[in-house]
Structure formats: structure tokens, C-alpha cells
């Protein structure tokens, strides 16, 4: 009787707690400080090399279309391993990288090189002590001078360098030359010109803007970035980032209002429902077929251009987003795409640093990688036309040169996924949906954003913003 009662009670307790199971967390008994001394090894954390033995470095990176993965392995991994007989680099292509990485790193495992989708992501890892500082290596390899300063700044926190930018990007307006020619349109540079074309396109039952966010909710923030940059202007945005003005500054609110107006007018694919439901394959097909006129997207899209325009590759072209207000100059909003960092648990950080140095070390090698895998791995170093293989697309070279110039001159715009802190960035992505369906007014959106941003500023979570 006693035993059975005890057991029953014990199991009732187990039922309650077991059924109440909740989400992932490492047992709190193993506090981060303690794990540094423990041997948290996995197959992905290499053992220290005895002299003569190879040191293994593991790098988890984003999956890509098959061919690109092969090219990357050939152009980067193989060249590195050939040049460094003591180190063996292994690059693994991981599906759903950011999700799996968080799980692994938190568990004390994970690769030597931590690649995240952007500065806001890596900030969390830094705060948790998972990233090793890079300042000494920066000095050793001269990264402060090889890599564009603004891009390096994006990887600093509290004055220390923690991450390097793997790729840098900008957002532009893609179009189909044939579509414009067939309809008698010129590339617009002002708001009036843009709206004129949009209205004419609408009348002809074409989509003024082809974008849809079913495949990536973040498309919302590409738009917000462009509208803020080209209506409110980069100076205003900069001031808000520094909190010298607030996010509900009239110019910033009007930018959102304008974006929303265009959505309600049906410029984006005819209706907001269509915008919400459409994924990239259709977006791309519409630009190629002439069913849509403009595509606001970034340099990452270069890798899809050849398959998007298989029969007439000469038709695609990029231009700067038109200025949406008098006096605002067209510009390139720049962003750091993926970031690279060294796992604080990496056994041999010197070897890992060698791998990182290989990314930025040689302009021609970097250019070859970009040539074979366009749109990603656009390392923010000074690349010249001559560095590229002769058959590199001229349009690509043009944008790289322009981005390079913008980087050096400091005359660039701000992309939300690089210069905003994590919660604010997520807010922008998620809540624009609500603005589009009318649940939030642009003013409410802006003031709520201000609240969240101010809170993150107070908690010291802002990424560094280089002076203008």
C-alpha cells in the first residue's frame, strides 16, 4: 500500500512536470563560465595538433545551388588547403544554418567559424560569450586597412572587433530593358517619373512592382530601407539611428505612408494579397516575361540572373531607386550580409584566423570566387575591374565599383538588417504586414518602433554606426 501510493504520487508528479515540458535550454547547472574549462568536444571541435599533424578547422556555411557549392569548395577550400599544408579546412553546407547553429553553439558544440546572417544575429552570440575577439588578428593581418572601415565597424562591440563581414550588399531597382523599351519608358529617377510609369503600367494590367514576400517576410524591410533612404534621406535616417531624432519624425512617418500608399494603390502586384502570397520564382518570372516592371531587390540576386533570363541575358539591368522627394539624392544603401566569427571554444584560433585571412587576402582570388558565385561572398575589399576574369558581366563590375566608391566616400544609405538592433529589425519585418492590412497606421508603426529602438539603445544593444 505504502509503496504503491508513493509510486503513484511520484508518477503523478512526473506527469505534471513531464507534460508541462517546455522549450529548449541547456541545463542551467552548467553555467557558461564553467564550460570553458570543461572539454565540450564534438566531432566538430578539432583536437590540438601535435607538431606535424594537421589542424582541422570546421566551417558551417549556407547551402546554395549545387554548382555554387562545388565552385566555392574548389575556389576557396581547395586553394586554402593547398596553400596551408598544416591546416585542413572542412566546409559544411548546412540546411537552415542559423537555426541549427544556435542549437549547436548553445550546446557547447558547433563549428570553429561561426557564420551568421548579419551583425544583429552575431550580437547575441557575442553577448553570450561564444565569440572570440579578433583584434590581435586584425592587427596581424591588417584587416582594418584591407576591409572597408564601415564594414569592419559593423563587427565591433564595445570597441572590440568580433566579426568580419563576409559579404556586403546593396539594394537597387532591377528592370527588364525590353519591357521599358516596348512601353516607351525611360528609367525613372524621380518620384514623379516612377509614379507615371506605375500608373501607365497599371492601366496596361502590368505589375508596376513585382515584389512578393511569401518566400521571405524580410522583403518588407528591403522596401522600408529603400523608402526611408529615398524619401526621408540618409541624413535623417542617420540621425534617428543615433537617436538625435526619433523614429516618428514626420519625414520617416511619411516614408512609411508613401510605401503603404503604393501598396494600397496596387502597385505591388496588383493587391496586397498577391504580395503576401507570391514567392520568388513568380517574382522573377514576371520581371523576365514583362508582366512586371520593377523589382526592388539586392545584389544577392545576381546569382539568379542567368537562370531568370535564359534566352536574353542582355535584357536585365539595374538602376538606383528613384529619389522620392525633392532634394534627396539617390544613393546605395549598404549592408553587411553574412558575418564570420571565431567560436570561443575553437581549439586552435590561430588556424581559424588563417582561414579568415584567406577570405580577404587576395583580390584576384576573391574576384574569382565572386565571378563563380555571384551575389554572395562579395567581400568588402577594394576590388578593381582588372581583378576579375575577363568574362565577368559588365553590369556586375559597374555595381561593384559603385559600391566600392560609396564605401570609401561615406555617402551611403543604411539597411535595416545591418544597422538596426535585433528586436527593432524584427519589428520592422513583422509589423509592416500589419500596416499593409490596415491594422497599424504608419504613425503608430513609427512610434512603436521608436519605443523598441529606445529600449534597445538603453540596453546597449545598438550596432555601431560609423560617423557620416
Amino acid at each position: 500500500m505504502k509503496v504503491s501510493k508513493l509510486l503513484s504520487i511520484a508518477f503523478a508528479a512526473a506527469v505534471v512536470t513531464g507534460a508541462c515540458a517546455a522549450p529548449s535550454a541547456a541545463p542551467n547547472a552548467v553555467a557558461p563560465q564553467a564550460t570553458q574549462s570543461s572539454s565540450a568536444t564534438t566531432s566538430d571541435t578539432p583536437a590540438p595538433a601535435a607538431s606535424g599533424e594537421k589542424v582541422k578547422v570546421i566551417w558551417w556555411t549556407e547551402t546554395a545551388v549545387e554548382d555554387y557549392q562545388d565552385k566555392l569548395t574548389e575556389n576557396f577550400v581547395k586553394t586554402f588547403n593547398d596553400a596551408h599544408p598544416n591546416i585542413e579546412l572542412e566546409m559544411k553546407f548546412v540546411d537552415k544554418l542559423d537555426e541549427v547553429l544556435r542549437t549547436a553553439v548553445q550546446a557547447g558544440a558547433g563549428p570553429d567559424i561561426i557564420q551568421t546572417p548579419g551583425p544583429a544575429f552575431v550580437a547575441e552570440y557575442i553577448a553570450a560569450g561564444h565569440i572570440a575577439p579578433l583584434d590581435d588578428y586584425a592587427k596581424k593581418f591588417g584587416w582594418d586597412s584591407t576591409i572597408f572601415p564601415w564594414a569592419v565597424e559593423a563587427g565591433k562591440l564595445d570597441g572590440k572587433l568580433y566579426s568580419l563581414p563576409l559579404t556586403y550588399e546593396t539594394v537597387v531597382m532591377w528592370y527588364n530593358k525590353k519591357t521599358l523599351a516596348d512601353n516607351g519608358w525611360q528609367v525613372p529617377t524621380t518620384r514623379a517619373e516612377l509614379e507615371k510609369i506605375a500608373e501607365e503600367a497599371k492601366a496596361k494590367k502590368l505589375f508596376p512592382f513585382v515584389n512578393g514576400n511569401a518566400g521571405w517576410r524580410g522583403v518588407n524591410e528591403w522596401m522600408v530601407t529603400l523608402w526611408w533612404a529615398n524619401y526621408a534621406g540618409n541624413d535623417t535616417v542617420y540621425k534617428a539611428l543615433k537617436q538625435e531624432t526619433k523614429w516618428d519624425d514626420p519625414l520617416l512617418v511619411e516614408s512609411i505612408t508613401l510605401l503603404n500608399d503604393y501598396m494600397q494603390k496596387g502597385y505591388f502586384r496588383g493587391s496586397k494579397e498577391s504580395y503576401f502570397a507570391t514567392d520568388f520564382p513568380e517574382v522573377d518570372a514576371d520581371l523576365a516575361s514583362g508582366k512586371g516592371v520593377f523589382d526592388f531587390s539586392g545584389t544577392w540576386a545576381f546569382q539568379y540572373k542567368s537562370s531568370q533570363f535564359p534566352d536574353h541575358p542582355e535584357d536585365w539591368e539595374w538602376a538606383l531607386m528613384p529619389s522620392l522627394r525633392d532634394g534627396v539624392k539617390q544613393s546605395f544603401p549598404l549592408s553587411v550580409g553574412s558575418t564570420l566569427s571565431i567560436n570561443s571554444k575553437a581549439r586552435n584560433t590561430d588556424a581559424v584566423a588563417e582561414v579568415l585571412a584567406w577570405v580577404y587576402g587576395d583580390a584576384k582570388r576573391a574576384a574569382k570566387i565572386i565571378h563563380d558565385y555571384p551575389g554572395e561572398w562579395l567581400v568588402p575589399i577594394d576590388l578593381k575591374k582588372d581583378d576579375f576574369p575577363a568574362d565577368t558581366d559588365a553590369r556586375f563590375i559597374r555595381i561593384l565599383e559603385a559600391m566600392s566608391a560609396a564605401s570609401k566616400s561615406g555617402d551611403y544609405g543604411y539597411t535595416t538588417w545591418t544597422f538596426w538592433p535585433q528586436k527593432s529589425d524584427q519589428f520592422i519585418v513583422e509589423q509592416m504586414d500589419n500596416v499593409f492590412i490596415g491594422k497599424l497606421t504608419p504613425a503608430e508603426f513609427s512610434s512603436k518602433l521608436q519605443e523598441i529602438y529606445a529600449a534597445e539603445a538603453k540596453a546597449n544593444q545598438l550596432p555601431p554606426i560609423p560617423a557620416r
Binding site: 513531464g18 522549450p23 542551467n28 553577448a127 494579397e273 498577391s274 503576401f276 502570397a277 500589419n434
Partner: protein, 305 residues
């Protein structure tokens, strides 16, 4: 809970030693117990702790008591998600069950081709959710999918952006999941129907019952245990629904198809709010537990269900 059994276990006499009475039976349960503790219970227990912290998924966790829960109950998106789960539950307690009953009943009387029908109806169920979602995503495509095709053929109202319209998003996803799920129910009901005593039907017919009356008064009662089982699992799975929503709409647009499980996913993996995600998870489990307990208590009270 005492599970009703056809043949209750023999009463174990007090005279048998402790080993025989207690330890030996538990040895049989040892494998499942150990595995469960290792893989499910232990990780989950450590996670319960995090529901009461502000953990971000990386780094230290600071105890904040019931703060997460307070936030949860005042978050309108949480209530929207909960409502969506309830809608999902309502949809799945009706549509697939009705379809499966209809199909099984129609099939029970049919000799020819029964095997063929059974197989085809069941195939969607054996397909992985990623495959089913991909297939339907294509069919519901806003540019070249069925809506647009029908519109081109002269039915302009058919051009609905299924997964992009806040009014239809949740229902469209439920439709896809239903396509996958109902075959499983059909197969269960069919077998249950086939073991209902034929003579009951004959006596019903002799009393002049028509097909509908036969169905309601003979078939349904005859398959009651199976029916109830499917009701229970439908309710519980409704609160855990994740795959299709995550793949097809991600909870969007604008939270229109948000459910509890997508909230958890986003909180943990997109917004670095693992503590908050844990709180939502705990709440979800509690809800499931409540329903499970209701079912079990009803049975215990001897309610003939």
C-alpha cells in the same frame, strides 16, 4: 486512471514477494522509461525552468518569475494564435471526420474496388508533410495555380490568393492538412464499421429504417470507441499543429494563420526570446493535458464513451 481491459490482469496475491509484484513488472518498463527520461523528460524539465527566466537562447538566464506569463496573457497575438488553434480544432473535429465517415460508410457496402479506393485514399497520409506542402503550394500558387486557371476559364471570382489573403490563409492551410489527414481516419472508421455485427443492420432494416437511420442508430454507436479515440487525438493535435502552417504561411500574413506552435518557433529562433517561448510551450502543454485529463476522467467515471 484504470484502463478498462477486456481481460483484467489477475489480482496479484499479497503472498507473492516484492520482487515478483513490483520490481519484475517495472523491469519490463525499464527500456521505455529510461529512453523517455533521457530524451524527453530530462530536457523538458530543464526547459521548464527557463519559462520563468528571460533567457535568450544563448548565455545566462535571469529569473523573472511569472513575467513571461503576464506578458503572454496580455499579448494579443497570443490570443489570436490561441483562437486560431480553436478554429483549427473546430475544423478538424468536423470536416475530416465527416468526410471519413461518409467515405467509410459508402465503402463498407461496396465490394468491388474497395481495396483500390482504400489504397488511393490512404496515399496522401503516407506522404511527408514537406512533400504535401510543396505539392499544394504549387496548386495554390497565386500566379499560375488553380485559382488563376479557373479565372482564366471564365470564373474571375476564383482568383483568390489563398495563402496571401488574411481571410483565407488559415483555412487554406487547414485544407491542405485535411487532404493529408482524412485518409487515416477513413481507414480507421472503415475497419471499425466492418466489425459491426451484420445482424444489427438486418434487424434495423426489418423495422423499416432507411440508410440514414441505419447510419445513425447502428453504425455510429457500433464504432463509438474508435470515433471517440479520433476525437481525442484530433483535439490534442490541434494544439500542436505546426508543420503545414510553418511551411505554407509561416503564421502570416500579419499573424492571420498564427498558431501557438509557430509563436514558439518564432520566439525561440527569430527573436531570441527562448524564455518566452518556453512559457508559451508550457501553456500549450497544459492545455493538452487538460483535454487529456478530461477524456480520461470521463472514462474513469464509467461514461460509456
Amino acid at each position: 486512471m484504470t484502463l478498462p481491459t477486456a481481460n483484467p490482469a489477475r489480482p496479484i496475491s499479497r503472498k507473492r514477494p516484492f520482487f515478483q509484484r513490483v520490481v519484475k513488472p517495472w523491469l519490463f518498463l525499464l527500456p521505455i522509461l529510461l529512453l523517455n527520461v533521457l530524451v524527453i523528460l530530462a530536457p523538458s524539465l530543464s526547459a521548464v525552468y527557463y519559462a520563468f527566466t528571460d533567457w535568450t537562447g544563448l548565455g545566462d538566464a535571469r529569473w523573472i518569475g511569472l513575467e513571461n506569463f503576464r506578458r503572454l496573457f496580455t499579448d494579443e497575438i497570443f490570443w489570436q494564435a490561441f483562437l486560431n488553434n480553436l478554429i483549427w480544432c473546430g475544423l478538424f473535429l468536423t470536416v475530416p471526420i465527416a468526410m471519413a465517415l461518409l467515405g467509410a460508410n459508402a465503402m463498407a457496402h461496396v465490394r468491388r474496388g474497395q481495396v483500390f479506393f482504400r489504397i488511393v485514399y490512404f496515399i496522401p497520409y503516407v506522404m511527408a508533410s514537406v512533400v504535401v506542402a510543396a505539392v499544394w503550394r504549387n496548386i495554390l500558387n497565386p500566379s499560375i495555380g488553380i485559382g488563376v486557371q479557373l479565372a482564366n476559364l471564365g470564373l474571375p471570382w476564383a482568383d483568390i490568393k489563398f495563402l496571401g489573403d488574411t481571410r483565407t490563409a488559415l483555412y487554406s492551410v487547414a485544407f491542405v492538412d485535411n487532404w493529408h489527414w482524412w485518409g487515416y481516419l477513413l481507414v480507421l472508421y472503415l475497419a471499425a464499421m466492418q466489425s459491426v455485427d451484420r445482424s444489427l443492420y438486418e434487424s434495423a432494416r426489418l423495422e423499416g429504417a432507411n440508410r440514414w437511420q441505419e447510419f445513425v442508430h447502428v453504425t455510429l454507436p457500433g464504432i463509438r470507441p474508435t470515433l471517440v479515440f479520433t476525437l481525442l487525438i484530433t483535439v490534442i493535435f490541434s494544439f500542436l499543429a505546426f508543420d503545414y502552417i510553418n511551411i505554407l504561411t509561416g503564421g502570416g500574413p500579419a499573424n492571420a494563420s498564427e498558431v501557438l506552435s509557430t509563436l514558439i518557433y518564432k520566439a525561440a529562433f527569430r527573436r531570441f526570446e527562448a524564455g518566452y517561448a518556453a512559457a508559451i510551450g508550457l501553456t500549450t502543454s497544459l492545455i493538452c493535458m487538460i483535454f487529456g485529463t478530461i477524456f480520461v476522467t470521463l472514462r474513469r467515471r464509467g461514461m460509456e464513451i
